[in-house]
């Protein structure tokens, strides 16, 4: 008895402590970024001024003056929203087919789709740039960024939706068939209402992934379709890094998504748990 009581007291204290420690480790870079964004570029690289410095808003003022933050932000919103939408428009029917009319290949197809995420992006950098720039002339267009973001997120989208749809009893879909539903009717009347929570989680996560994506958005855009990731990247001046300025830009870039994530915490956690939390 004593031992049981002890272990449970131990775990009551130990686990939350561990969680806090891990949480703080993850949070620290963000905290440091926000902190640095209020320092001058000179203060930012001065180790003596790690925590004691005179805060300034200069970096933020510069940002809107010099780089047109809002254009990059608008681009980020546009490409993230449309890439998410298209991924769902393709992903929902795809996951529906896999969940309710599986064939022997379904599991393999799912694995294969996921395996494309293991392909190193750098491996296709040259063909992608060459083809989009010189062959299709799509370089630095919204369309291209949306297409690429949509495609790289599709495996996750299909996989997530598939796990949600699979939880819906097949009987209910069949009852719908008996009652006169068409395939589209099944999706609209049964699938979407029943898996709504899962679809929203998937959408949120995809949106966040799109917003944060940097590899392709940086490399496939220059001005017109450039997103906030590109803005951050663009602040790496050749003569060295302006840490204060960079931090302000970064804070402004990740700010919206952190706020979004904060408000949708619950939905996101259940989403990442892949339907396990219900």
């Amino acid at each position: 008895m004593a031992i049981v009581a002890q272990t449970s007291r131990f775990s009551r204290i130990a686990w939350p402590t561990l969680a806090w420690v891990v949480g703080l480790i993850f949070f620290f870079p963000i905290f440091y970024m926000v902190l640095t964004s209020f320092k001058t570029d000179a203060d930012a690289v001065n180790p003596d001024m790690l925590f004691s410095f005179t805060p300034t808003l200069e970096n933020y003022a510069n940002m809107t003056d010099n780089y047109d933050y809002w254009r990059f932000a608008t681009n980020s919103v546009i490409v993230s929203v449309f890439a998410t939408l298209f991924a769902l428009v393709v992903g929902v029917p795809c996951a529906y087919a896999m969940a309710f009319n599986p064939s022997r290949a379904t599991k393999d197809v799912l694995m294969w789709m996921l395996s494309t995420k293991m392909l190193p992006a750098a491996a296709v950098l040259y063909p992608m740039t060459f083809l989009t720039k010189n062959v299709f002339g799509l370089f630095d267009t919204h369309f291209l960024v949306i297409l690429v973001l949509c495609l790289i997120n599709l495996p996750i989208v299909v996989w997530m939706l598939f796990t949600y749809f699979k939880d819906i009893p097949k009987d209910i879909i069949e009852a719908g068939k008996m009652d006169g539903l068409t395939t589209w009717g099944e999706v609209k009347e049964i699938l979407i209402p029943l898996a709504w929570g899962g679809i929203v989680s998937t959408a949120l996560l995809t949106f966040i992934f799109c917003w944060n994506e940097a590899y392709w958005t940086v490399r496939l855009t220059t001005i017109d379709a450039a997103t906030l990731s590109k803005l951050i990247e663009g602040n790496r001046a050749p003569e060295g890094l302006f840490f204060g300025r960079l931090s302000a830009v970064s804070t402004a870039a990740v700010g919206p998504i952190i706020v979004l994530g904060w408000f949708c915490q619950k939905q996101l956690v259940s989403g990442v748990a892949f339907g396990a939390v219900k």
């Binding site: 009987d171 209910i172 069949e174 009852a175 068939k177 008996m178 006169g180 009717g185």
Partner: protein, 338 residues
């Protein structure tokens, strides 16, 4: 109207043939029960009729029309699932209205039918609840309500009562039978409970491994089982089947005698045995007898059913006398000998 004819219907899942080609005729207004052990293909056969499964070969006719290629909804059948399969996000009212909404029936007619169905199924007070807030029996009623309002030419039930407790089952069984009497619509009912089969059916279809072993009225199956399988499957407790010398005396490979067709005496009789367990049900007593010296298969168990009560206890010697006119005889192929 609702006569259903299956011609050469068969079904394979991949390489495994679950239902070898079979023929079956179901007349309009009949209450037909598919019964058989688990995995014998009852649900599959029902789903083939419903159109939820594609046929591998053969043809399904409803009211003389070939519906093999017709979608489930257009076959004019209603199905009640074992899991109820209600739409969890809709209220009871919306659930019942759903097939009518799909068929484009006007609101006034819908409301009238919902009210009538709710009244006859005791659901009036629950129309605005969601299925999650109902008991199992109420959910089953909603499922039946949803099936009724379509006015189908036939109802298909797949083990609709197996998720209910025993008392509720008996009640719902009666309700379904009343419904059949009232509507006079064809009903096909799948169960593996042979009591349900015997009490509800006009016609029982006994299936084993996808093969129809016998089709007939409950009493036909009880009195004249076509083979050993049906003899053993229909009736509870099971028929005693005896092989060996005792069977040879009757020029048969196997003889069968139902537990209720054996007289018990403490002093004299044809066979002699030792009482194992006696189950007293009040109205009946089941006596399980061992060491009869008969070849009754593994378990060495001979069961007797006596109406009323009899004072026997474990280890007593009893004498058993079969009622000769109730004896069933089967040949080496297991087929009935008249």
């Amino acid at each position: 109207m609702g006569s259903i004819v299956l011609k050469d219907v068969n079904k394979k899942f991949g390489e495994t043939e679950v239902i070898p080609p079979l023929d079956l005729e179901i007349n309009d207004g009949e209450f037909v029960v598919f019964v058989g052990p688990s995995g014998c293909g009852k649900s599959t056969l029902l789903r083939l009729i419903a159109g939820l499964e594609d046929l591998t070969g053969g043809q399904v006719n409803i009211d003389g029309k070939d519906v093999t290629e017709v979608s489930p909804a257009k076959r004019g059948l209603s199905m009640v699932f074992q899991s109820y399969a209600l739409y969890p996000h809709m209220t009871v009212r919306k659930n019942i209205a759903f097939p009518m909404r799909m068929a484009g029936i006007d609101q006034a007619t819908q409301d009238a039918k919902i009210d009538a169905a709710a009244k006859s199924l005791n659901l009036t007070d629950y129309l605005d609840r969601k299925p999650g807030q109902l008991s199992g029996g109420q959910r089953q009623r909603v499922a039946i309500g949803r099936a009724i309002v379509r006015e189908p030419s036939a109802f298909l039930f797949d083990e609709p009562l197996s998720n209910l407790d025993a008392a509720l089952r008996v009640g719902m069984r009666l309700e379904i039978m009343e419904l059949h009497k009232k509507l006079n619509t064809t009903m096909i009912y799948v169960t593996h409970d042979q009591v349900e089969a015997m009490t509800m059916a006009d016609k029982i279809v006994v299936l084993q491994a996808g093969v129809i072993e016998q089709v007939g009225s409950p009493l036909e199956l009880y009195h004249k089982p076509r083979n050993k399988f049906v003899a053993g499957f229909i009736g509870s407790p099971k028929m005693n089947q005896i092989e060996g010398a005792e069977a040879a005396k009757h020029n048969a490979k196997t003889i069968g005698i139902r537990p209720e067709h054996v007289d018990v005496s403490k002093t004299e009789g044809t066979w002699k045995g030792v009482v194992g367990v006696a189950e007293h049900l009040g109205s009946d007593t089941f006596i399980h007898v061992h060491e009869t010296g008969l070849d009754v298969g593994e378990g060495d168990l001979f069961t007797v059913r006596i109406s009323g009560n009899i004072e026997v206890s474990h280890g007593d010697t009893v004498y058993l006398t079969p009622q000769m006119d109730k004896l069933h005889k089967f040949d080496a192929q297991g087929l009935r000998i008249e």
